[in-house]
């Protein structure tokens, strides 16, 4: 039974990382109806930035906060400079721009920091003052930190003026514009926030999967699966979806023969399955289209 709880808790920890990336994906999807295929690579890049700060001798928390701040600004700039010109372009063009971004981040990271696998330190101490047989200190810290981040984001959207303006811009751009909200900047802010949340996910997952330019491709797929499972129109759902996917992934690896080798296939099946049978996800709104 202990093994089961260990697996579940570790699944929740990795799932909360998926939840971060899933939330980043959903934030951008809600504002602009795009799936950011480059979200994973952006998070990877942020993690490398954090690694560079660490190399300068900064304490790990300072490095993380600086990297997250840098990611926020970078996300903002990317939206303003690269995404804005294709805002109204056909879907294909937008997908291609995301794929272009993915390539740029992946290769530039490999170019600057090389493709070798690097260990990455945990943000958390080895010892929280109490020990548990069921969950390691890093996983414990991951769950606590992501829950805090998610709570902060919820509070931000729920209780601040800017958060309200961002929700308005996403829900109804035309009306938002009429009441004086700068919709373009709200979208950019959304991108910045998404990049920052993605960076949190990257920094937390790096001690587990090690730091290298391709570290996020699997994580992004799980995050997509989580976002779809929870419902792409529901940020809370996406978070829950990420957690569920993390736990399922761990169970699958342990209890299904050959499961540990088919984790990505499982994510694929989950994505296709959800899209086919419950396209709105568990918590999303059903979109009714008029023809």
């Amino acid at each position: 039974m202990d093994l089961f709880f260990q697996l579940t808790l570790a699944g929740l920890a990795i799932g909360s990382i998926y939840a971060c990336v899933a939330l980043a994906v959903v934030m951008i999807y809600q504002a602009t109806d795009h799936f950011n295929f480059a979200q994973g690579e952006m998070a990877m890049f942020s993690t490398f930035i954090c690694w560079t700060f660490l190399g300068l001798g900064l304490p790990v928390w300072v490095a993380a906060v600086l990297a997250i701040g840098t990611s926020f600004i970078a996300g903002l700039i990317i939206e303003r400079v690269i995404i804005k010109p294709v805002e109204n372009a056909p879907v294909l063009n937008q997908i291609i721009v995301f794929i272009g971004l993915l390539m740029i981040f992946n290769n530039v990271a490999g170019w600057i920091w090389e493709f070798t696998i690097k260990p990455f330190p945990s943000l958390f101490p080895d010892d929280f003052g109490f020990k548990s047989e069921l969950i390691g200190p890093h996983h414990m810290g991951v769950i606590a930190l992501t829950l805090t981040v998610l709570l902060l984001i919820f509070l931000f959207f729920r209780f601040t003026r800017v958060g309200l303006a961002m929700r308005a811009a996403a829900a109804n751009p035309d009306s938002a514009r009429l009441v004086g909200i700068s919709v373009g900047w709200m979208l950019a802010l959304g991108w910045g926030l998404a990049a920052a949340v993605g960076a949190v996910g990257g920094i937390l997952v790096a001690p587990i999967v090690y730091l290298e330019p391709n570290m996020m491709s699997g994580v992004l797929l799980y995050a997509f699966a989580g976002a779809l499972l929870g419902g792409v129109s529901s940020p809370g759902g996406a978070v829950l979806g990420g957690l569920i996917v993390g736990v399922l992934e761990n169970w699958l690896g342990q209890y299904v023969p050959g499961g540990s080798e088919l984790k990505l296939t499982f994510a694929l099946i989950l994505i296709v399955g959800v899209l086919l049978f419950k396209p709105a996800g568990l918590f999303g709104r059903v979109v009714i289209k008029r023809v």
Partner: protein, 339 residues
């Protein structure tokens, strides 16, 4: 919207000239360069498949590496385990890719635009892991992959590389003609009608699910044939060869050549294979120089980062690609001379 070119006399002449140049290539270059051209052709065929799917039918795929891999592995397995000759193996590979593509097209029916891109993305990311799967190891060779000897030359006096090149070129020309004929037929018009206005297409009695899944299968078949030729020219398949970036290469080539064109894939294929070399040469050139120029080598980004930038710029400024540009230039000169 974009339709396949009508065959004009001038286009035919251009095509024959291109064919002539194509036939000359192995005679005037080394075996290695010929091999690179064969690679370009195999990518080009996969791009042709993507163009049919995306450019003419409006369904997205960022996962054509998966079908490329299916073709490559089927051909390799046929040769390795069943001792079937390489040319029959291409046909079997094409069929296998068609079936998988058709089946993947079934769920794709309910997925539009972005969601389809997402599902194909998942397929491409999961493919290498599936190919490594223990239960298939007897067939796929697991992580080690499979070695495939280059097909024996078909004619005396040709090297294996030259012979394979001519075979690949013949297949590509054939598949281009097939694509052109399909697109100019009733079914082709149905494909384009679905792309332009699915509701109107359905109203006119087009069987949407049938046309869309068949197109998906056809597109996958092209990718599979490309994959089989890729296997023969590189003499080796392994799971990590067919990672997500192959899908990106195919997409990049399609977009750069022109996504709703047939001849554009020639440029796309050549671009994917040769541009990284030129970028590398450029870097080496700068490294070899003295003084301030040597410093430039350090700041030349890797080719694929440059292509990422180029991809975005192409979408901003020339979304119709190289072939679309040629067509527009041609139309412009004709207007000039007429006016």
């Amino acid at each position: 919207m974009d339709r396949p070119n009508p065959i004009t006399k001038k286009l035919l002449i251009g095509f024959l000239i291109a064919l002539g140049v194509g036939i000359l290539i192995p005679q005037i270059t080394t075996d290695f360069t010929t091999y690179q051209f064969t690679l370009a052709i195999s990518y080009g065929i996969a791009m042709l498949g993507l163009n049919i799917l995306t450019g003419y039918n409006g369904q997205f795929s960022v996962g054509h590496s998966a079908f490329f891999a299916i073709g490559a592995y089927t051909a390799a397995i046929m040769i390795e385990h069943f001792a079937i000759d390489p040319y029959t193996s291409i046909v079997i590979a094409a069929f296998a890719a068609f079936v998988v593509g058709f089946l993947f097209g079934l769920p794709a029916l309910r997925l539009e635009g972005l969601y389809l891109a997402l599902a194909t993305f998942g397929f491409a990311v999961a493919t290498p892991q599936l190919l490594k799967f223990d239960a298939f190891e007897h067939w796929t060779g697991g992580v080690q992959g499979i070695f495939v000897p280059k097909p024996e030359p078909l004619m005396e006096g040709l090297s294996a590389d030259q012979s394979l090149y001519y075979v690949a070129m013949g297949i590509m020309v054939f598949l281009m003609v097939v694509a052109w004929s399909i697109l100019n037929s009733r079914s082709g018009r149905a494909m384009m009608a679905i792309r332009d206005n699915p509701v109107a297409a359905a109203t006119m009695g087009i069987n949407l699910p049938m046309v869309k899944t068949t197109t998906f299968g056809l597109s996958a078949m092209y990718a599979g044939i490309g994959g089989a030729l890729f296997t023969y020219s590189s003499e080796f398949v392994s799971p990590d060869t067919f990672n997500f970036f192959i899908a990106v290469y195919i997409l990049v080539g399609s977009v750069i050549g022109g996504i709703a064109t047939i001849p554009g894939v020639i440029f796309g294929g050549l671009f994917i294979v040769f541009m990284p070399n030129y970028a590398q040469d450029l870097k080496l050139f700068f490294e070899g120089t003295e003084g301030p120029w040597a410093a430039v080598a350090g700041v030349v980004p890797p080719p694929w980062a440059i292509f990422g930038v180029m991809l975005i710029l192409v979408i901003y400024f020339v979304p119709f690609g190289v072939w679309g540009g040629i067509e527009r230039l041609w139309a412009w000169t004709k207007r000039r001379s007429a006016g």
